[in-house]
Structure formats: C-alpha cells, structure tokens
Symmetry: C2
Subunit: 420 residues, 2 copies
Amino acid sequence: MAKKMNAFYAQSGGVTAVINASAAGVIETARANSKHIGKVYAGRNGIIGALQEELIDTSKESAKAIAALRYTPSGAFGSCRYKLKGLEQSKAQYDRLMEVFQAHNIGYFFYNGGGDSADTCHKVSQLAETMGYPIQAIHVPKTVDNDLPITDNCPGFGSVAKYIAVATREASYDVRSMCATSTKVFVLEVMGRHAGWIAAAGALAADKSNDIPVVILFPEVIFNREKFMTAVKEKVAQYGYCSVVVSEGVHHEDGKFLAETGLKDAFGHSQLGGAAPVVAGMIQEDLGLKYHWAVADYLQRAGRHIASATDVEQAYAMGKAAVELALKGRNAVMPTVVRKSNKPYRWTVGEAPLSEVANVEKMMPMEYISSDGFSITPEGRAYLEPLIAGEDYPPYKNGMPNYVTLKNVLIAQKLEPYKV
Amino acid sequence: MAKKMNAFYAQSGGVTAVINASAAGVIETARANSKHIGKVYAGRNGIIGALQEELIDTSKESAKAIAALRYTPSGAFGSCRYKLKGLEQSKAQYDRLMEVFQAHNIGYFFYNGGGDSADTCHKVSQLAETMGYPIQAIHVPKTVDNDLPITDNCPGFGSVAKYIAVATREASYDVRSMCATSTKVFVLEVMGRHAGWIAAAGALAADKSNDIPVVILFPEVIFNREKFMTAVKEKVAQYGYCSVVVSEGVHHEDGKFLAETGLKDAFGHSQLGGAAPVVAGMIQEDLGLKYHWAVADYLQRAGRHIASATDVEQAYAMGKAAVELALKGRNAVMPTVVRKSNKPYRWTVGEAPLSEVANVEKMMPMEYISSDGFSITPEGRAYLEPLIAGEDYPPYKNGMPNYVTLKNVLIAQKLEPYKV
C-alpha cells in the first residue's frame, strides 16, 4: 500500500475473559509493523464508536498497559450489542462509517466478535467493491458460545469451559460432603443460548480420579421432565448426591425456554435467566430432595482468574494473525484455530472467508452428547479437554487481580456529530 | 496421661474451601506427636459418625493424601447438619457418644465447625465432669459467615471473601464494557444469613486503581427500596453502570427475607436463595434498567481455586493449635486468630474458653458500614483486606484442580448398631 493507513479495532457483543488478549495481539502486532500500519484506533463501545467518531487513540497507552490487556477480562474499550443491517437498509450508516474512515485515514478494520459481528465485518469488507472505499476488513473470532463455524473453537470458550468445569467439581465436592443430612442435589445454570458447548464442560468435573455424578441439560435435547427425574434419582441412589448443569437455553418441546424473562436484546434474542431455580423447584416437587442452586451468569465469562492458558494463547494469536493477514493484503477473512491433533494437543492458525462464517451457527455435534442425552461421549471429552488446559494467572496486588483500566483518550473529531 | 489415647475429629455444618486444611493441621500434628496421641479417627459425616460408630481410620491415608487436604475444598470425611441438644434432653445420645469413645479409647475430641458446633463441643467437654468420662474437647473454628466471637476472624471466611471480591471486580469490568447499549446493573447474591461479612467483601472489588461503583445490601441494614433505588440511580448516572452485592439475609422491616423458600434446615434456620432475582426485578420495575444477576451459592464457599493464602495458613494453624492445646492438657477451649497489626498484617494463635464461644454470634460492627448503609468504611476495609491476601493455588492436572478424595476406611465396629 502506497500510503500508510491507520487501523480501526472494535469489540462486539458479550465480552469474555480473553477478548482483551486478542486486542493486545492486534495492537502489539500493529505496533511491531509500524512501517506499514499507522495508529490503531479503537472504537469506544464497539462499532458505535466508529459511527459516532469516538475513536480511542491506543498509541496513548503504554506498552505495559497494552501487555496487561492479555490478563484483563472484559472489553477494555467498551463493547456493544448493536447490529448493522444490510447495505441497502442501512446505507446511511455505511456512508457514515466510510466518512469516518476517510477522515481518519483508516484502511484496516479489525472486528472482534461472534456470528453477528462476522456479518457486519463481511459487509464492511465489501465497501471497497460496493462503494469504492479501499478497506481491508478482518474478523477476529470471539464468543463464549463456541458457535462460529470453520474454526475448531472460539477464543473465550475455553476459559468459560474451564470456569464451569472447575465450579462443578468444587460444588460437587461440597454437596458430597453434605448429602448425608442436607443438600442432595446442586443445580448450576450456565450460558449457551442455542448450543450446549458450555453445559458440556460441566462433564469435565468428573474424570478417572473424580467419580462425580453430573447430569447435564443441553439445549440440543428437548427437556423431558420424567427422564430427567429418573436420571437424578438414579444418581442420588448410587452416590447419595448429584450435580445438575443446566444450560440457560434448555427448552420444552414447544420451544419455550424453561425460564424466560421476556426481555430481548438488540439482536432480538430473548434475555434468559432463571432455569436453575425452575429445575431445582421441579426436583423438590417430584423427588422431595433438598437442593441448592447457583446461576453463574457474568462470573463465568468474566472469570479471568481461572482462564485457560490455551484459550489466552489462542485469543492473542487470533489478534496477531488478523494483523498479519491484513499485511498480506487479505480482506473479508477471519483467522481460525485449526486442530492438528488431540494427544498431544497441537493447533495452528488457519483462515476462513467471511462469506462462509457470517450468520452460520455451529451447533454441538450430536455425537458429543451421550445416548441418554445427559452427558458427553468420549469424543466430546477429547474435543473439550485440550481447550481448558493450562493455567494463566493474572498478577495480584493486595489479594486482588491487578487488571488494567486504560486511559482511553479520544482523538479530536473532524466531522459533524452523529448519534446512533 | 498415662495411657495413650486416640483422637476423634469431625467436621460440622456447611463446609468451606479450607476446612480440610484444618483437618490436615489436626492429623499431621497428631502424627508428629504419636508418642502421646494414638490414632486419629474421623467421624463419617461428622458427629453422626461418632454416634453410629462409623469411624474413619485416618492412619490408612498416606502422608501425601493428608497433605493434599490442605488444598482440597469441602469436607473430606463428610460433614453434617445435626445438632445435639442439651445433656438433659439428649442424655441417651451423650451416653452413646461415651460408649463409642470408650470402645475405641478416644480421649481427644476435635470438633471443626461454627457456633452450633462450639456448643456441642462445649457439652462434650463437660462429660468428664458430668459423666465421669475423661475427655478433652477442643473446638476448631470454621465458618464462612465469620460470626464466631473472640477470634479475630474464622477460617473459611477469608477465602469466600476473596471469591466474592474477585467475582465482583470481574463482573463489574464486564458490565462496564457493556453498559453503553446493554446491561447497566449487575446483581450478585452472596451468603451470610445474619451477618454481612461476606457482602462487605464485595466492596473490595473497588480500590485506588479500580473506581468501581458497588452498592451493598447488608442484612444488618433494613431494606429500604426507595433509598436503594436512589443509590443505584446515582451510580448509574455517574458511572453508566452499577454492581449490587446482596446478602441472602437482607430483610424487610418486619423481618421477612427478600426471598424465602420456606425450607428449614436441621438447626431450624430458613433455607434462603433468590434475593438476587428479586432485587433485579425491582430495579427493572422502578428504574427500567437492563440487569443481569448471579447467585454464587456453593461456588463461593467451595472455590478453593481462588482461596486466600492467609485463610489457608490460618485454617491449618487452627487445626495444629487444637492438637497442641490438647497436648498441654486443655479442655473446653478453641484456638483463635489474634490480630496484632494491620500494616503489616501480623497475627498469632490465641485461646478462648468454649463457655464464651458457644451460641454467641458476632455481628459485623456498625462502624464497618458506611453511613449511607451501602458500603464499608475505611475501618471495615482495614479489617477485611489482610484476610484475602495471598494466593494459594492447588496443583492442576489436565486443566483441572487435582483435589484429593480419601479412601475413608471405616474401622471395625464393636458396639450394637445405632441409628441417628
């Protein structure tokens, strides 16, 4: 490229324990290639920052602060749930984006998110063709739901899987201690609206040295109260106790979730919560067993203190690879994790065209779910185990993780105000 | 003592991340003093194990397994919620206890629990006087609620405090990232039936480098919906978001808990749960703000992976001190943590008579709660901070904490069966 262009980076959708590690990968790699890439501007609150010309100048952050992103959960520049519609429906917004890009000499667009974001990124990548603006758009994969296609797994998932596996093991040890006279069933509600990847991780609580009874309720399996109660009853008869991991997305045959609040987010998805107390209440009603329940909610996706080292490494690698792909002239692509082998676990970085990524939801293969519908198969375990491997502790100060809060200095605006 | 007596050890009430560290302290110290103390028998499922003559022979466990208790959460021998009544009301049970102790040459009684257990331990300590059976009973303090008197703090509390402080910080970072377009208020429900010690730990999420808005609902402060909404509204206006930490024990003026399930445990306490969704619903109703909520439940007290090193050290020290007190001929006492200074934090082991410990609940001093009732004072912070200091990570295997499950071999019974 003749003229050195600046880069735009934004975080999109629900944040994770490691999305900032991807940000560090993008920014550090861009800094290392300052001959070819100018400044990296980050969108304040994601793509909204681009539309409103609220661009954070990441060059104002020290190398130490950017390095600290690697171990800081959440979205350091702010994220958003805001989806751009198609080029035809939202032409004014794309015009505005181009105007902002042009005003700030932006030639690279790095968008860090899930399926909806891959779609937006894909549309931005077409601006060169459709609107004549020269830009390279690269998507950086991120989602705790692990539902992006082509990539073997998504950064963000491994850490939430580790969180849920550890929490289920610890709580199961607790219930096992108490079950003679007190709680017999522990119910943990986990995220995963449509795909049971996170719920599946609960099965990792058990292994050869930990014979722990875990019953999983997957969103892929229609809820059958009778079969579920039989499974719980059998486990309690055999072990004296039982742990249940229930996905927020578990639903009845008519598609109705076990618990719905009725709220919807900007993408039109129902905001869920409360499957655990519903399931616990059923257990009390049908089996008369004493229960406890927990809802992990944000704790699971923000739990950087128990992040998977594999996940952190891959999140960083995806950010780094995105910049490297841009430097190679690529457009409309997403770096991917390619699994080479399970034992020992080996992976490399691959590449996928956004046309094949956008709006495609990868479900959990049914061969990962055991035939009774309440656990995982050895294949499922073989897939999951490497993703939670390794610990990557943040530094601590006064007993607390010493996460970074950036200065987030906005650059001077050049255009007319625009309000999303 | 002329004849070498065996010891009995039991875990009582809700387990913690570090009660097994106290068990390790008892067993390792008894092993180191095998000239004076015979075997250590552990009650299977607590005191019930003594009554039913289900005694676990801890000498069958390797030194490595006992050492692993230091980093294993839950109660390795099983715990129970079972309270012995007074000597007069339950004479048959005390007779049975003596019978079992006599049959197995037990001269030391180490009881690891909270206020109710201290009371039982005190009654056992009187058997020498009242029933002529020579036994020394030492209570080993344990409770996440931190509500035992005299001791500066209780083993178990520091780790749950650290868990809640870390979770609140991490979730707050998450909400901060999302608040521009999505969740504005995050509500976390924590344990603490009558005392707000655990809820107070949520305030540690904020510090000089982390300006995080946290509103705490203490059980010590009568819930005032209007004042609470004003506090949340102000935080959201100033920061764009707010975290709320609500104790399960928060109640209305008439004493009714925000959420009651109606269940009661063996000690007659209401089994609580569900304050978070109640508070979240109120926020939605009164302020129209989008919320998320989590209920930490067992995860907080079983979360050994994020235990406080100070807590682990003190839990072990209490177990060790209990045996040392026994060897010095003491009866009816409990080792305590005595705070010597805050900065640097220094503590030593003290001793309290059980007559002053049993059935006395230590509330949080009102001078630790800020004048608005929603946070802690600098004095409260000075008290709490040392208790969460230091990390003490368990070993990991395949990405999971490698906790120990003991063999728990029962010794041969000598008496007639007895069913609790």
